[in-house]
Symmetry: C4
Subunit: 344 residues, 4 copies
């Protein structure tokens, strides 16, 4: 029988992935307090449904940076897809495209950005390119240039990883991700070193070398959201990196309201972290997100059934969101507003 929800995919995926890699995917940092908070924070938010609204037609087409999407759900950058499925990120892109969503490819993917783009092209899957800044700025700039040439539509600069969080499952498992022979495919000689200094000035540098829109991923406070707007970013992804960086940090859905309030519509705001249900998407939209990103569920779908699994994960969430919009009397994205939620 086909899985009826995202959690069933999780259960099916586990036996398909080697234990250490599974821990790498599933784990968070330290005591995984924030990992769990990402879920529990959603569960404490209550929906206030309206009735007798004409919901015969539900529309959730939207756009992100002007790019049309079939649904306000995108795919977050995650690494090491080849560990879950042989074709790796290429299979993911195919599934995302078939679902009408958008994929943010990780710069440490196990397939090259060009391979991913080529596959994405066949299914008209729009792509963003997630960027870490490396010590060697030529490598960094090279990645941006390659992304431009391959047709990526925006650069997503991850700002919450000046260092890697302490993921103790990996320390105990002595995990190297990706395991050989799945190296970080974008680099000729393995993984280059992260740049030890990443500041707002880097944003100016990035702005100078590319005309692509720039998104910042990993903002959790009103203060930084305001700075991002002042630095002219095109979008903010409210994120705690899936609970994998600072443990004890805010759940991302907890941080969303203050970011939205600070931004005042001057750039687009998205959120990731703990989204497992269409009602989670609905809550995020009601709190001001233009779209959400999902991470681990995509890997579960990929592991279970390759691109079909990815498509199905997105299809499940889309169907759940559509139903949730109908049952809450919000047939359009425009009708989803703050009055739909009651915070704890």
């Amino acid at each position: 029988m086909k899985p009826v929800n995202v959690s069933e995919y999780e259960a099916l995926a586990q036996p398909k992935i080697e234990a250490g890699a599974w821990d790498f995917y599933q784990g968070g940092s330290d005591d995984e307090v924030t990992l769990r908070a990402n879920r529990s924070a959603f569960e404490r938010i209550r929906l206030r449904p309206r009735v007798l609204v004409d919901v015969s037609s539900i529309t959730m087409q939207t756009s992100v940076l002007g790019i049309p999407l079939a649904m306000p759900i995108m795919v977050a950058p995650t690494s090491s897809h080849c560990v879950a499925y042989p074709e790796g990120e290429c299979a993911t892109a195919r599934g995302v495209g078939m679902a009408g969503s958008l994929m943010i490819a990780s710069c440490v993917s196990t397939r090259t950005l060009e391979d991913i783009a080529e596959e994405a092209h066949t299914v008209q899957c729009p792509l963003f390119f997630q960027l870490y800044v490396f010590n060697d700025m030529q490598i960094t700039e090279g990645l941006v240039r390659r992304a431009e040439q391959a047709g990526y539509r925006a650069i997503v600069l991850t700002v919450d990883t000046p260092r890697l969080g302490r993921r103790e499952r990996d320390l105990r498992n002595n995990v190297i991700i990706p395991p050989l022979p799945h190296r970080a495919a974008n680099f000729a000689d393995g993984h280059p070193l992260f740049r030890p200094v990443l500041t707002w000035e880097m944003l100016s540098w990035l702005r100078d070398i590319t005309s692509l829109p720039i998104l910042l991923k990993g903002i959790l406070t009103a203060e930084d959201a305001l700075l991002a707007v002042q630095h002219g970013v095109d979008g903010i992804i409210v994120s705690n990196h899936g609970g994998r960086q600072l443990d004890g940090g805010l759940a991302s859905i907890e941080a969303l309201p203050e970011v939205v309030e600070a931004v005042e519509g001057r750039c687009e705001v998205y959120v990731d972290g703990g989204i497992r249900r269409g009602t989670d998407v609905l809550k995020a939209l009601a709190l001001g997100a233009r779209a959400v990103l999902i991470g681990r569920p995509v890997l579960w779908g990929l592991a279970v059934d390759g691109s079909e699994g990815v498509r199905d994960i997105l299809g499940l969430l889309r169907a759940e969101l559509e139903l949730a919009m109908a049952l809450s009397g919000r047939p359009t994205l425009a009708s989803i507003d703050r009055s739909l939620v009651k915070l704890p």
Copy 2:
């Protein structure tokens, strides 16, 4: 030994009902967050009992839309009673009538509305008719006409079901409810299609075709309560459909205060969802409900002992309510006010 409370009936009923049907009765949508919240929200409300009040005589006779009832407890519309007990809704009506309560018959009952009415007549059980609006408006109007002719006293329009909630237990069980040979008895050719558009205009149509009082079932917000009043409804049932529609929605007892406040006495307000104790009824009354509705417990009583079980369930709740009124120093319904409860 006779069950001492409603929960004991639940335990006794389970082995009498086929597993898939049991899941259908018991389950909620998605993760069943709202299903559980319906209970836990009651448990967080504290009662503030008064003492040295003359409670030698407790009176709980009331009326709903002018119809006298022995207690402020009615029976919510639920489907498929024949699955729990051979005589189905007819047995239920007999038990409800013997208990002095009122039954809202589901329009997708497994006995015809006329059969139910005939049985109800023998025990003077007042009946309301729950209505879904079907694609074929002639079918819809036909149901209303038949209900009028059969002596139903009000139409209860369910407004929270523009689509069915996603009840994953049923998806996993591959349940068809009612199982053959228990079809939806009111329809010659099985179950007609629900109407894809149900709006406030439908209320005008309904008002035009019948002079019966109209209740809306499934309102959870002050905004919709106000609209209902403005559209001239006779009553509002605050309900989340037993946690079977929008998961993550407000617990119904959480939503009751804002509805009562918005209505300002301009129509009657009732509530269902999670009521398992006389003290739950008391809390709902204190928060402004004129009466409560119970759903699943009636099915448990029906499964265990047919009409006698139904009567006993209502008798247990009535006895518990009577005791709770005595122990809280509120011998009359009029003496039950907001000062009786402390919200969390």
Copy 3:
């Protein structure tokens, strides 16, 4: 080894008491929500200890209605002591007297009030008499007269029991308490009927027939506390009858602050329900109680070791309170004020 705390007495007592009687002692009404709340409400209150106070000498001598007590801890009225220990309430009184505390004897005791008084006299144990009002007012008055003659110092009128709470453990066990041959010793012909009407007027009647001080036991609201003061009572016992009457009612320690505030010192205020530690006593005193009452722990002590067990229970609580006063920098009862507690 001697029990180190009250909970160890509980564990030791259970095997000494027949299962049905144990359930009768331990149980509460309905779902026992209030029974549990009585404990959990204490655990949520935090103490704010002061330091560098001279606590070399801790004094906790106090008085209740002018009667000197060695500690601000009294013994609540409970029934059926002969079930726990052959000598019943007489053994209890001896233990209470040896501990320097005060006993409120239940009017449905299994030893006569005169027997209890005689035993209490030998150890100078002050006694109050708990009164239920019976249908036959001559019986009621007779009890008061006998209590006066036997040297009881106050009448404690229980006001929260116009009917018995629904204790489902007892219903399931089919318990008759006290079991034969332990009848309610104060009555020649078994247990007379409770009076179906008990109102504030009854207080005037009681005031007229006796010059003993009158306490009301079972008040949980500011409203009733104010009425009690207006009716000239000498003391109020904030109580929910150990969670045995209205389930879902306020925990007694939750109700204490509003009662204390309403009373404004015009009569004494005590509290019972869930007190198992010296720090619980301290919290109650900080919230304005003049003294606390303990119920079930006394029965545990009685079952384990007769009067010695009762004395030891009171001794343990006294020692814990003394230590808690020292560790919180409050060497006298006068120094225990509201600033000692932080409410949740």
Copy 4:
């Protein structure tokens, strides 16, 4: 494999320590409510990380009373180190010194204060001397004089122990700590009696007899913090003695804000209790602590691997703090302010 965090040391330490001594180390008073609250209070505080800050260089060098420390983490006074490791407090001092931290030696240590100082000298470990006041003031003064001569840099007067808390694990285990032959080494003839009166006047006496800075350990309220400032103390350690004194008292991290607010910078404020992670240290610093103290984890490290274990415990916390500072965008202690935390 080396332990990856402090909790793994805890698990490794248990089999190395005799059961009764383990209970003595791990346990708290009464029901251990405060012991658990020390941890859970940290878990409820959320961090608000900033991004795109230059965190290439993290500096956490600080000073306590002008003494330079490599990190804002000190070692709290705990007793009986010889029970965990043969060399006892000398091994601890060596590990603390190697880690660049500071040790507060307990006055009831199992090695003499002179031995500890001699060992500490070899690794340049700064020492404070924790003082209980004994009945015989000559003994007390003698200890201060010896601490001065041995090079201790401050006196830490414990103010929350006018009596020992009731540690029921020890009562049940019938524990004598330290077990023979590990006596309290600073005293020729075993353990002298604690002074039954310890008040603010004692502070004047202590001030008169020594020119060493004086810290008070065990303050939990704004009221006492203000008194401490008025009495001219050099520092305050917000502490509930690891949950070993007044059970039900405030968690120390809960008490920190009111102490910091009352002190207004007029003396240094530190905190101990429940710190097991670098993020805990960060939260304490954000709430105004100049440094934190750790107790039990040091004993775990000592039991597992002597001075190396102690050094590693401090190294783990230091590394975690460094990472937490980087991931929260606070590269210096000065940049850690109140905006970093969101209280529950």
